[in-house]
């Protein structure tokens, strides 16, 4: 449902303008006034500042014919960059994006031999990565480090890392970051109630409401994997029963496939869980009925939990992402679509689109970098002030204040 922002030109107006320009791709100042409810003079002032800072640029005119042509503005992609680190069990993925969310560099490195990513090592990684990409230090807006919800990044890492690399550091869970990344790079407009399901060795979700990532009380929102789909189902280490993660995660699917002797004989399932999962996914989309059944069953379980989530939050748009949907995303998307079309409460009132991510394997790393970009060019979403690089005082502590920032 469309919601209007307050028309007064407060500190949130700048973020609003950046967000509307981003989702519109190109737009004129007049259309900006119509869409935001801000006055022409406030828009002119804010746009002038954004152009001076290199965040927005003029890209030509339209409306030849009647009256004077209107100048079009757009996000200036290549002027500033965000960097994201996604910590996996065995690797760290580094991603750099431009202001529109386009990936300009990525690198995956193995976890250090002793297994730990100290602030010192992360700082070294940051410098090495950005130097190999020739990113000028003064154009890097910051770094966000994301990890699965079950292994959160240590709280004191932020301040120490900020000191070492001289740019602000953010910390988030991977599924939430992926949601913000999809929101940013797919140019989703801030009026949409947007959600993301992140399928990997865990099942996660993230939500963007009114342009802001929904964090919950302590960045723990979106733990979809622990939504129960069976009141006396499989036990979960969390203490509950029937958590969907026990049924629909990529590891649950690999376990299910390994229990089928014929599938086990036909497919290479004995290697790492991630390569075994990809073998199942590839076989499933190429017509192997048993492999298809394993994933379709997982998708059905996931559909149950996703319907509960969509009902609870009245979502309007849902993107499936994460390494689990890279090869066989069509199976999950089709299941979720049919499940939601049959059971979602909103089906009589509005559409709920289900889409597949274009870059599912890198979604969390891209999302991390997008957190930085959003905090830098459209600040005011969750107290993550990024201005004043290299000034640790400008960075809020790891225990992020609940709510969505004071000005909203």
């Amino acid at each position: 449902m469309a919601r209007r922002e307050t028309p007064a030109a407060g500190p949130g107006s700048r973020a609003l303008i950046v967000d509307v320009v981003r989702s519109a791709v190109t737009i004129s100042r007049g259309e900006l006034a119509d869409l935001t409810g801000l006055t022409q003079p406030s828009i002119s002032n804010i746009v002038r500042d954004l152009i001076a800072e290199g965040i927005i640029h003029e890209i030509g005119s339209t409306g030849a014919g009647q009256g004077r042509p209107r100048k079009l503005i757009a996000i200036n992609p290549a002027n500033r960059f965000g960097v994201g680190f996604h910590m996996g069990p065995d690797t760290l993925t580094s991603v750099a994006i431009d202001l529109t969310g386009g990936v300009i560099g990525r690198e995956v490195v193995p976890r250090p031999p002793d297994g730990s990513w100290s602030p010192e090592r992360l700082a070294e990684r940051f410098h090495d990565f950005t130097e190999c990409l020739d990113l000028p230090a003064d154009r890097i807006e910051g770094l966000a480090v994301v990890a699965p919800a079950s292994v959160p990044v240590e709280a004191d890492l932020r301040a120490e890392l900020t000191d070492r690399i001289g740019v602000p550091v953010l910390v988030e869970n991977d599924a939430a970051a992926a949601a913000l990344g999809e929101f940013w790079s797919r140019r989703v407009s801030r009026e949409q109630a947007f959600g993301c399901v992140y399928l990997s060795a865990e099942v996660g979700a993230g939500f963007v409401f009114g342009g802001a990532l929904f964090r919950g009380a302590g960045s723990g929102a979106g733990d979809l994997g622990h939504v129960s789909i069976h009141y006396d189902g499989r036990p979960c280490p969390c203490g509950s029963l029937g958590c969907v993660g026990q049924y629909a995660s990529t590891t649950a699917s690999v376990d299910a496939a390994r229990e089928d002797p014929e599938l086990r004989a036909r497919l290479p399932l004995d290697g790492s869980a991630s390569s075994a999962y990809d073998s199942i996914a590839r076989a499933a989309v190429n017509g192997d009925p048993a492999a298809y059944t394993v994933l379709d069953q997982a998708a059905e379980y996931l559909g149950m939990a996703a319907t509960s989530m969509a009902n609870l939050l009245d979502l309007g748009r849902l993107v499936l992402t994460g390494p689990g949907v890279a090869l066989a995303g069509s199976i999950y998307a089709r299941r979720l679509r049919s499940h939601l079309a049959r059971t979602a409460h909103s089906r009589q009132r509005h559409t709920l689109t289900v889409e597949l991510s274009a870059q599912p394997r890198d979604a969390a790393g891209i999302g991390a970098a997008a957190l930085v970009v959003q905090a830098a060019v459209a600040p005011g979403h969750g107290g993550l002030a990024l201005q004043g690089a290299a000034v640790p005082a400008a960075v809020v502590p790891a225990a992020v204040a609940p709510g969505h920032g004071s000005e909203r």
Binding site: T91, I104, G105, P110, G329, S330
Partner: protein
């Protein structure tokens, strides 16, 4: 840390849309990461910028080797990496590599196979929407399509795209506007252009597959989810990545090897977009 570099001179937008590279990179990393080697992927605007990157990586000793993609005939990057002494593996036809190790996919052969598949279903007027014709692999595919069309005495209509969704739409419109004969089947050089083509075909009021059959060159989740689901020439792209990574590790042991590694055979996966 040992590092291998992969530079791509395409827009971040096109790369972002293209599942081929995501799966290729996934396969590379399955072999490189356990070997303690990292893969650095860098997007640049054009070929001149790409050459600059090799120069600076080499001068600063930031990579131990590189992977070259999207080769053109007589590609000057081959001479450049030789001059810089950078071990390199070419993803492409051995004819482009001047002796560098290559991971080779039989583009011409699989293109003939795609034509044969459609001819076998009774199509006589075919369309081919290719990638940029400057690329050697595009020329080989186009050559394969033309040879098979000639052998079978079919009619061929062609258009060129740049692998983007928008170029798939435009190229399809060009083919559908052809008179007197419209194609009854179109082969697209990647999945993204095929998806764009589907949109255009629908906008022309035509039905797939009743009026027009569609085959995508790469398979992907988006192909499978399209309505109708796209028939595709499926390559095991992650396996091609694994082979390439193995080739790179081999160059670390013997930089003078002139090996040709053959990619696994592609095959048509038949879905709902062909008849």
């Amino acid at each position: 840390m040992t590092r291998v570099g992969l530079v791509m001179a395409r827009s971040a937008q096109v790369i972002g849309e293209e599942p081929f590279y995501h799966e290729f990179i996934e396969g590379l990393e399955r072999v490189l990461t356990p070997a303690g080697v990292s893969l650095l992927v860098r997007m640049v605007g054009d070929r001149a910028a790409e050459a600059d990157v090799y120069e600076s990586w080499s001068a600063r000793q930031q990579v131990r080797g590189v992977i070259l993609v999207d080769l053109v005939p007589d590609d000057d990057r081959v001479a450049l990496v030789r001059r810089l002494g950078l071990p390199a593996v070419v993803l492409g036809d051995p004819s482009t590599a001047d002796g560098l190790p290559t991971v080779w996919t039989d583009d011409a052969g699989f293109a003939r196979e795609a034509v044969g598949f459609l001819a076998g279903r009774g199509h006589t007027v075919l369309g081919h929407v290719s990638g940029p014709l400057g690329f050697a692999h595009t020329q080989l595919r186009r050559g394969g399509v033309e040879a098979e069309v000639t052998d079978r005495e079919l009619t061929l209509l062609t258009a060129e795209g740049d692998y983007s969704l928008e170029s798939g739409r435009a190229a399809t419109a060009l083919l559908l506007d052809t008179r007197p004969e419209r194609p009854t089947a179109i082969v697209f050089d990647n999945d993204v252009m095929a998806l764009g083509g589907l949109e255009t075909i629908r906008a022309y009021g035509l039905r797939v597959p009743e009026d027009l059959s569609v085959v995508a060159w790469d398979d992907s989740a988006q192909c499978q989810l399209a309505v109708p689901a796209l028939s595709a020439m499926s390559h095991d792209v992650a396996r091609i990545g694994e082979l390439t990574a193995g080739a790179v590790l081999d160059t670390f042991l013997d930089a003078s090897a002139r090996t040709v590694y053959e990619a696994p055979k592609a095959h048509i996966v038949e879905r709902d977009s062909t008849r």
